[in-house]
């Protein structure tokens, strides 16, 4: 009786712990980033080339199902996520950033801001992204909770802690073969934060 009860309790504890670890690996609980086990990293931008593929590990598939359901396989699109500025500090609503970049090795690209729940921030500013139809050649955009005087703008109002997703549709073979050599990773320079004024 003692053995049976002890082993039953041990099995239950183990199962709960195993299930919890799986949910954390899928980023359903805890604070795991959408691409915490990225296999492609270029200047702070992280991606996983197995997104959308049957070859993806169970952990990647689970995480993408939670954070990026219906993501395309890399032959059609690749997705890079950035969570920090150029100094390595987490991106957050209260600060103002300048993001700058150029052309990308793809038919079309865009950069969209998402909050910590992987949704677009709940504001009505109509400034959710920049894309290749507006950011042409060498471009720059302001990321801030209030609009700049001029230029491209992505609103972080009501975003809290956020990330930026760089989508590249119909990426070139060169990018897929050697992303570190061919991606033109946008820079994110922190201009100011409220604590800077103190």
């Amino acid at each position: 009786m003692k053995w049976t009860l002890t082993l039953l309790i041990a099995a239950l504890v183990g199962a709960v712990a195993g299930g919890a670890l799986a949910l954390r690996a899928a980023s359903l609980i805890g604070t795991s980033a959408a691409l915490s086990n990225a296999n492609v990293r270029v200047d702070g931008w992280a991606s996983d080339w197995s997104i959308g593929s049957a070859a993806a590990t169970p952990e990647v598939r689970a995480r993408i199902a939670v954070r990026g359901l219906l993501g395309l396989a890399k032959s059609e699109a690749v997705y890079f996520i950035r969570t920090t500025d150029d100094q390595g500090a987490p991106l957050r609503e209260a600060c103002t950033y300048e993001m700058s970049g150029g052309d990308q090795p793809a038919q079309w690209w865009s950069i969209t801001l998402y909050d910590a729940t992987s949704f677009m921030p709940r504001n009505d500013d109509g400034a959710l992204s920049v894309d290749a139809t507006r950011a042409i050649g060498d471009w720059s955009a302001t990321i801030s909770p209030t609009p700049p005087a001029e230029g491209l703008w992505i609103s972080s109002r009501n975003a809290g802690s956020f990330d930026l997703t760089l989508r590249l549709y119909r990426p070139t073979d060169a990018l897929l073969d050697a992303p570190e050599a061919h991606l033109n990773p946008p820079a994110i320079r922190r201009i100011s934060c409220p604590e800077d004024a103190g």
Binding site: A17, S75, S110, F119, M120, R122
Partner: protein
């Protein structure tokens, strides 16, 4: 001591089993919920519906792109339906038709700038115009580049009405 060791081994084995089961079952469960939610929102079975333009108050799945117009069709190749025909009206400069199975895998994508016309079948085929579905249920998604409200209006009037997703007799 023996009891403690047995308990530890039991806990580890149960933990590993629970982890593997959960991590493998989760995508299918999430896809089931997503398809059920789409059904509740009126996404038809074997027919395309153009989703409203993605804005913060209309987003229904994680990480939607506000620069794309999405048309969605649910498919179910069980029962009497062995195959569906999927057509997409042409759209420039970017359009694609992507197919997702019940485990979230993007098992096929075709270009659609000049339009698309393919058969999705439950059975394998050597015909280049026929795609085999790995699972009987899943989603077909058309993406069209539409970064502005005017672009979206043009998709709604000029392209989306020409999309079809219907059983093949």
């Amino acid at each position: 001591m023996r009891l403690l060791l047995a308990a530890l081994v039991t806990a580890i084995l149960a933990g590993v089993a629970a982890y593997q089961l959960t991590i493998r079952v989760l995508p299918g469960r999430i896809m089931d919920r997503a398809m059920a939610a789409m059904e509740e929102r009126g996404i038809p079975l074997h027919g395309f519906a153009l989703a409203p333009r993605m804005t913060p108050d209309r987003q229904t799945v994680v990480r939607p792109s506000p620069d794309l117009a999405y048309s969605v069709c649910r498919f179910d190749l069980s029962g009497d339906v062995n195959a569906i025909r999927v057509t997409a009206a042409p759209w420039q400069p970017y359009a694609s038709v992507s197919f997702f199975d019940a485990r979230t895998n993007n098992f096929a994508t075709v270009r659609a700038e000049e339009g698309a016309d393919v058969i999705l079948s439950r059975h394998p085929s050597s015909d280049a115009g026929i795609i085999e579905a790995p699972t009987v249920r899943g989603l077909v998604l058309i993406r069209r580049l539409a970064p502005t409200p005017d672009d979206y209006v043009r998709v709604a009037s000029d392209a989306a009405p020409g999309d079809t997703c219907a059983p093949v007799d």
